[in-house]
C-alpha cells in the first residue's frame, strides 16, 4: 500500500506488547505509516505482504528468514527491506542477518528512537547498525579479502571450512606434520583432508591445490 510521502511499515513479532508499542511509537511519526502489525507466522506475513510495506520490522531473524524472505527475492526488492530490532549483541547473529539481506539492526539495548532511525535510514537506501557492529563487518570483509581462496574455493570445489583453511598452508609448502602442528590436528587427519582435497579439486598431487584455487579466484 503506497501512502503518499510516507514510509510504509509492517511489524511482525510474536510478542504482542512489542508490536503494539513499536507500532504506537512509529505511528506518532509524521513520515511513517504503520500498515500492519501481526504475529510472526507465515500466513500473517503473507497477508500483510499484500499491502506492500516498504519496510518490515521484526524481532526475530528466524521470522525474517522463514516468513518474510520467502515472499521476496534475494536482492531486497521493493517491499523486502527488513529492520531487525531487540537483537542480542552477538556478532555471529549479526553477520548471519546481513548475509540474509537484513538492512537494519537494532540491539535490545538500543532505544525506540534507534528503531525509528533504522526504519528511516533503510527507507533511504542505507544499511543501519550500531557502530561497533560496523567494525565487525569491516573485520569480516577484511578476513574474507585476505583469504582469496575461501568463498570461491567453497563454491567451485565444495571444500569444507577445514579444507579451505589448509589451502594457504599447503601452498606455502608446509609438510603434513607442520600443518598438523599449526592447526592442532593429527598428522593422519591432515593427510586425509589433503587426499580429499586432491580428489575434489581434480589435481594430481598436493602441489596443484594452491595453483588450482588461485586460478579459480582469478576467474571469479
Amino acid at each position: 500500500m503506497a501512502v503518499e510521502g510516507k514510509i510504509t511499515v509492517s511489524i511482525l513479532s510474536s510478542n504482542r506488547l512489542l508490536r503494539e508499542s513499536i507500532a504506537r511509537i512509529l505511528h506518532k511519526k509524521k513520515d511513517i505509516e504503520v500498515i500492519g502489525a501481526e504475529c510472526a507466522d507465515f500466513s500473517s506475513a503473507n497477508k500483510i505482504s499484500l499491502s506492500l510495506p516498504a519496510i518490515w520490522v521484526s524481532d526475530s531473524l528466524d521470522s525474517f528468514i522463514n516468513q518474510i524472505r520467502p515472499l521476496f527475492g534475494r536482492k531486497n526488492e521493493a517491499g523486502g527491506k527488513c529492520v531487525l530490532m531487540a537483537m542480542a549483541d552477538d556478532a555471529k547473529q549479526f553477520l548471519k542477518a546481513v548475509s540474509h539481506g537484513v538492512l537494519g539492526y537494532v540491539l535490545e539495548e538500543g532505544s525506540a528512537d534507534d528503531v525509528v532511525s533504522a526504519v528511516r535510514g533503510v527507507a533511504l537506501g542505507q544499511a543501519v547498525c550500531p557502530a561497533h557492529l560496523t567494525r565487525v563487518l569491516f573485520d569480516y570483509v577484511s578476513s574474507q579479502m585476505n583469504n582469496p581462496y575461501s568463498s570461491r574455493a567453497r563454491k567451485q570445489f565444495k571444500l569444507t571450512r577445514r579444507e579451505q583453511q589448509l589451502i594457504p598452508l599447503v601452498s606455502r609448502g608446509l609438510t603434513n606434520k607442520e600443518i598438523a602442528a599449526e592447526l592442532n590436528l593429527s598428522e593422519q587427519t591432515v593427510k586425509s583432508h589433503i587426499h580429499r582435497m586432491i580428489c575434489k579439486i581434480g589435481v594430481e598431487n598436493r602441489f596443484g591445490i594452491g595453483a588450482a584455487c588461485e586460478i579459480s579466484q582469478l576467474d571469479a
Binding site: 510474536s14 510478542n15 504482542r16 506488547l17 512489542l18 503494539e20 508499542s21 513499536i22 504506537r24 511509537i25 524481532d59 530490532m85 531487540a86 537494532v106 540491539l107 535490545e108 539495548e109 538500543g110 532505544s111 525506540a112 534507534d114 528503531v115
Partner: protein, 126 residues
Amino acid sequence: MMGAIRVLVANRPRLMRELVMAAISDQPDIEIVGEVEEESAIVAAIEKSHPDFVIIALDRSRGLPAFYEPILQNHPQMKALAFALDRTYFTYYWASLRIQSKRMEASEAGILDALRGRAEPTERLQ
C-alpha cells in the same frame, strides 16, 4: 497527579523498558514516577518514589529475580510486573504471606488491566 497509579519502570533491556513506557505513558490515570536503568538503583528508587507497581525484568530462568523477594515482602502494598523480550507473557507478582504470581499476556491491554487492578491476582504459580 492525585490518585494516579504510580509506576516505577525498572526493566531491562532498554528497548523493552521504552516500549513498556510507550504503552502506559499516555494514560491519564497512570503516573510514571521513575525510570531505573541499573538494578543496583532499584531499592533506592522504590524508597524514594513509593510506587504502586514496579516493572522489572524476569531473570534468566524466567522467574522473579531473587533480590526482589525481600523487596516485595517489605513493601506488601507494591506489586511487580516482570517482562522478558522473548516471552509473550509477563508475570504479575505480589506478596501475600509468601510471593504469589500470575502470568498474563504481554500486551498493552494486559499491562493496563494489571495496573488498574482489573486482573485480580488469584492464580498462584509459585
